[in-house]
Symmetry: C2
Subunit: 244 residues, 2 copies
């Protein structure tokens, strides 16, 4: 029985790598992942074998990792953020039935909802939803239903994949749906390149967010009725009587 | 200007501490936190000053941390999990107006939604909600509204604080509300003492979850219509055509 570790490495820099993730990467025979992330590890571990595939070839990447593990090597599949939130943990577990000799272990990592929130302040201090606006794997009507439900529940909403070249209007459409219920002056924020060179962020209103030109490296936060701007930070108040 | 770092330390053991969190703790003059967590650090850092308060005295703890930072010392306020998800980042930022000489920096950590999901499999592979069943700071009718909205949106739901001695019926009430919409055979799971000695977990149905006797050290996961049990793991499928 060989082990395939599916490992979140956080938002990019070493700062947010956990001890467990580092141990798993150091002890693996084979490191597997999206070309861009894995290239950062090549120079540090010259003796390891590397398996990479570009974007959109996630399932092929999973198959290659499974084959490597099935042949008896210890494999670390690395994912940015957390492996279990829009990462590779799910497809690998789905594939496990065909590779019953591979033991899959999931190693948690810092996902963008958590790392991006820390940049803006404390927007997720109370109940929240995480929604991806990518309709590659989820039909757009389902995404719309979830946006409406999130607004009806007065949740804070963290949005992954807010827009891309092929989906330039998704964020504007999502904001319009949220504004059916949430006021246009709801406090929002976005963070780009979290924890990496060129990190930038902005706090703005939901009305302004609808016109923002962002990209797939950006994570968006939409406040709830308790979200405020305090000293330039986005903060969702949680009922503590702090300022009395 | 002195700095107060609000630092998530993950679910408990060193395994899930990030590099950044360890650096912040090592460089701080003062470590502040809930008695139980901070006691684990005392023996390791005998030269540091420690400030602790028991449960339910969070705001007093924040004031003491602010006073220490305001006096010119570097302070690390440690929180289990992530500081920005039901942690101390929010109340400290709310309090910042009264201590304008303190620079507050939030250091993200592995929250129980992420670490618990990794134990069960990959339950949060698609859009999800995080809801706390504690009505200490949020009125119960608001929690009910959010549970109904989460079910209406076919979200996976991660539940914090599912029950306690003072709230023995909250989880059963929450399950009843979710079952107004979600089928009773919806795949669910719970994890207790994540990443710590005595970790245990179970995968069960929503109907069975309604009768489960859990506690405040447990995190609960309720699946969506795409959640399955595969090889004993709880997995939310995300539309990849993996098993063809």
């Amino acid at each position: 029985m060989s082990t395939l570790y599916v490992t979140g490495i956080g938002p990019g820099s070493d700062a947010f790598l956990t001890n467990e993730a580092r141990t798993v990467i150091e002890q693996a025979d084979v490191i597997c992942g999206y070309t861009l992330y894995v290239d950062l590890l090549r120079s540090r571990y010259p003796d390891k074998e590397f398996i990479t595939t570009p974007m959109r070839q996630e399932i092929e990447r999973c198959r290659m990792a499974m084959e490597a593990a099935s042949s008896g090597r210890t494999v670390a599949m690395v994912c940015s953020g957390d492996a279990g939130i829009y990462g590779m943990a799910g497809p690998l577990l789905e594939m496990n039935g065909r590779y019953p000799d591979v033991d899959i272990q999931i190693v948690p990592g810092i996902t963008a909802a958590v790392s991006g929130a820390a940049v803006l302040g404390a927007p997720l201090m109370n109940d929240f939803c995480v929604i991806s606006l990518s309709d590659l794997l989820t039909p757009w009507p389902v995404i719309e239903k979830r946006l409406r439900a999130a607004a009806a529940g007065d949740f804070c909403v963290c949005i992954y994949n807010p827009m891309s070249k092929k989906r330039p209007n998704h964020l504007a459409k999502a904001c319009a749906i949220l504004m059916e219920t949430k006021p246009a002056d709801t406090v929002c924020g976005w963070v780009r390149n979290i924890g990496r060179e060129g990190q930038e962020s902005e706090i703005l209103t939901l009305g302004e967010l609808a016109d923002a030109q962002l990209d797939m490296f950006t994570t968006v936060f939409v406040g709830c009725s308790e979200t405020r701007v305090l000293n330039g930070r986005m903060v969702t108040e949680r009922g503590y009587e702090v300022r009395k």
